[in-house]
């Protein structure tokens, strides 16, 4: 078989990604499996009769073997059905629960908006800082930026968030401290209200991204072929644009995707601080009330996003790898 090495490697990566997704979905699915036996009683309340509890267990399909339920759950998830929430049920058997998808869908758009806004601000800043500090290594500028980012990395996200609230919302009221948005909020207003959460995430993520970009470029500039190009008389710009950059795309893409994946996690804490109606906040509320179907739905979405972003980074790395593109 004569398959281009790039296609082959990409297919391998995709297969690996799918396998990971499969195992992850099993782990998330088994969350309901690991609950104590009497959880039906706990959710429906002490007054629930045995019949109501039994009906509830039947509705969850607990009378069927686990592998059948797994297939149903995955099939449902693929068609956009993640089951119904545990909350809103009571002992009398009246079911006021809502579909998990209806809970997640509007919030998912909010979370994506926040993450997207952050990425648009953070990625260019981080790349510019990373490349410039790598070029002027050991200068005063480099050291200042380095110390500043090392400090930001050590701060918990909520610390950064509350410092920003204290400065920009409380002492000098520029932005609102609660990022209160809904469907009817116009885009400009939405961006304005989301400014503080986005700024918090930007500060946290720029520090990581900048340090990783700097390390990647420095690593690259130390390689023998760059030195060779320098010795043969290429100018600094030429070295960077013509020689370093083609090899730098892969590490830079990895850095960006890795940090966007990090955003997925960072978003949870920041959403709670600013009471931003996103998936992260929903998940934390669901964990507090032990509403497993909602936790499962949110976890699945976070995990898929995370795995996808890492997969994209890998694929960009493969596509832009000169050694794979021009095989001998």
């Amino acid at each position: 078989m004569n398959v281009h090495p790039v296609t082959k490697t990409i297919l391998e990566r995709l297969g690996l990604g799918l396998a990971t997704l499969f195992v992850v979905s099993i782990i998330i699915f088994s969350a309901i499996e690991m609950l104590p036996g009497d959880f039906g009683q706990a959710i429906l309340g002490q007054a629930a009769t045995q019949e109501t509890v039994a009906a509830f267990r039947r509705e969850l399909g607990l009378d069927q073997p686990a592998y059948l339920r797994y297939l149903q759950w995955v099939g449902g998830a693929l068609q956009g059905d993640l089951g119904t929430s545990f909350s809103g049920r009571n002992a009398s058997g009246i079911d006021r629960s809502r579909a998990v998808v209806d809970l997640i869908a509007p919030r998912l758009w909010n979370t994506l908006f926040l993450a997207g806004l952050t990425a648009v601000i953070a990625v260019p800043i981080a790349l510019a800082l990373g490349v410039s500090t790598a070029l002027f290594r050991n200068s005063v500028y480099d050291r200042t930026v380095n110390t500043a980012t090392l400090t930001t990395i050590s701060f918990p996200e909520f610390f950064v968030a509350y410092i920003l609230i204290l400065l920009l919302a409380s002492l000098y009221p520029v932005f609102p401290s609660l990022a209160n948005v809904d469907d009817s909020t116009p885009l400009a207003q939405r961006a304005f209200r989301t400014a503080l959460p986005a700024l918090t995430l930007t500060l946290v993520i720029v520090a990581h991204m900048m340090r990783m970009t700097r390390a990647a470029i420095i690593n690259l500039l130390a390689s023998p072929y760059i030195q060779m190009a320098r010795l043969s008389g290429a100018s600094q710009t030429e070295v960077i644009i013509k020689h370093a950059l083609p090899n730098a795309w892969a590490p830079i893409a990895t850095v960006i995707a890795f940090n966007l994946a990090y955003l997925v996690v960072g978003v949870v804490v920041v959403e709670v601080v600013f009471v931003y109606p996103g998936v992260g906040q929903l998940m934390v509320d669901a964990v507090t009330s032990r509403d497993i179907p909602v936790v499962q739905g949110c976890a699945l979405i976070f995990a898929i996003t995370y795995i996808l972003l890492n997969l994209i980074a890998d694929i960009i790395g493969i596509i832009t790898n000169p050694r794979l593109l021009h095989p001998k």
Binding site: L150, P156, F158, L166, S170, S177, V268, I292, A303, Y306
Partner: protein, 306 residues
């Protein structure tokens, strides 16, 4: 060196050069050369440790002692005021050092026990056990650990013991990766082979042959892991699913007093109150990072290129 046969004594020269340095002399020499950032870090860590160990001595009031005025301002009676139900914030900050840092240290130790042991076994064994463990770790690392921790906490409930076990297991994956990676290079050494041939058991090879040779990267990783675990636990407690009240804990203290921040315009001190526990977390993380940085620099044998 002089070659004059009348005065030269090989034993004398060797004796003069090889004055055996004890562990403490070496430590003293190293400390003398340490940069200011590492010294600053060590002082901070020492202060935190003292506060954690002797919390009841330093704290003016009890951990859960309630006073009649909630949200009292900063005063000589309550240095940082009181919280939403009237507990002294300064005392709770000191007890927080014991609870939050103590739990984080315990979790990190457990993570190293699990991850380190499995990593060493995988590196020595290199058969199906290695394959199975490595693939399992790959999958665990494919899910962001905060999300994973939230799922597990929703199943098992938020108790301190669950929190320690869950975070330790999730973090042991990274310890496993590192231990396995560094141990693999040591396992192939001749002296390990010799130990095997003379019939030493798995435990001996792990402890006496391999572990001493992979200590420096593991110690540095311990510092970094501690920071990570500490921040995760603080984040979970802040979200309300970690360490539960009435235990004094920095993460939940930030959440409980967060509403004070809107009064910063009228009283800056009130606005600063919720930031104090957060700052306590940040300061310790920075301190540990500084020390780890110095340690890595020292053990890697790299010199600053100017």
């Amino acid at each position: 060196m002089t070659q004059n046969p009348d005065t030269y004594s090989a034993a004398g020269e060797v004796g003069a050069v090889l004055e055996k340095r004890t562990f403490w002399t070496r430590l003293k020499l190293d400390l003398k050369k340490s940069p200011w950032s590492a010294r600053f870090g060590m002082v901070i860590i020492f202060i935190y440790a003292m506060l954690a160990i002797f919390a009841p001595v330093f704290a003016p009031y009890g951990e859960a002692q309630v006073f009649p005025t909630p949200y009292a301002p900063w005063s000589s009676e309550f240095i940082f005021g009181t919280d939403q139900i009237g507990r002294d914030i300064f005392s709770r900050l000191i007890y927080g050092a014991r609870n939050t840092v103590g739990i984080a240290v315990a979790t990190t130790f457990l993570a190293f026990l699990i991850g380190g042991a499995l990593g060493l076994i995988a590196a020595i064994n290199r058969s199906y056990i290695d394959q199975a463990l490595s693939r399992l770790v790959d999958v665990f690392m494919a899910i962001p650990s905060l999300i994973f921790a939230l799922v597990l906490l929703s199943i098992f409930g938020s108790t301190v013991l669950n929190l320690i076990i869950i975070i330790a297991v999730l973090d042991s994956t990274r310890v496993f990766r590192l231990t396995r990676a560094v141990a693999i290079n040591v396992v192939v050494m001749d002296y390990v082979e010799a130990a095997r041939l003379r019939g030493e058991g798995l435990g001996w090879i792990m402890r006496k042959e391999i572990l001493p040779n992979i200590m420096p990267p593991l110690i540095a990783e311990f510092g970094l892991r501690f920071c990570f675990v500490f921040l995760s636990i603080a984040a979970l407690s802040f979200l309300g699913v970690g360490i539960q009240p009435p235990t004094a804990d920095w993460g939940s203290m930030v959440r409980e007093n967060a509403s004070l921040i809107q009064f910063a315009q009228y009283d800056l001190k009130a606005g600063l109150t919720p930031l104090l526990p957060a700052a306590a977390i940040a300061l310790l993380t920075v301190a540990v990072n500084f020390v780890v940085d110095w340690f890595l620099h020292k053990t890697s044998g790299l010199r600053d290129e100017q």
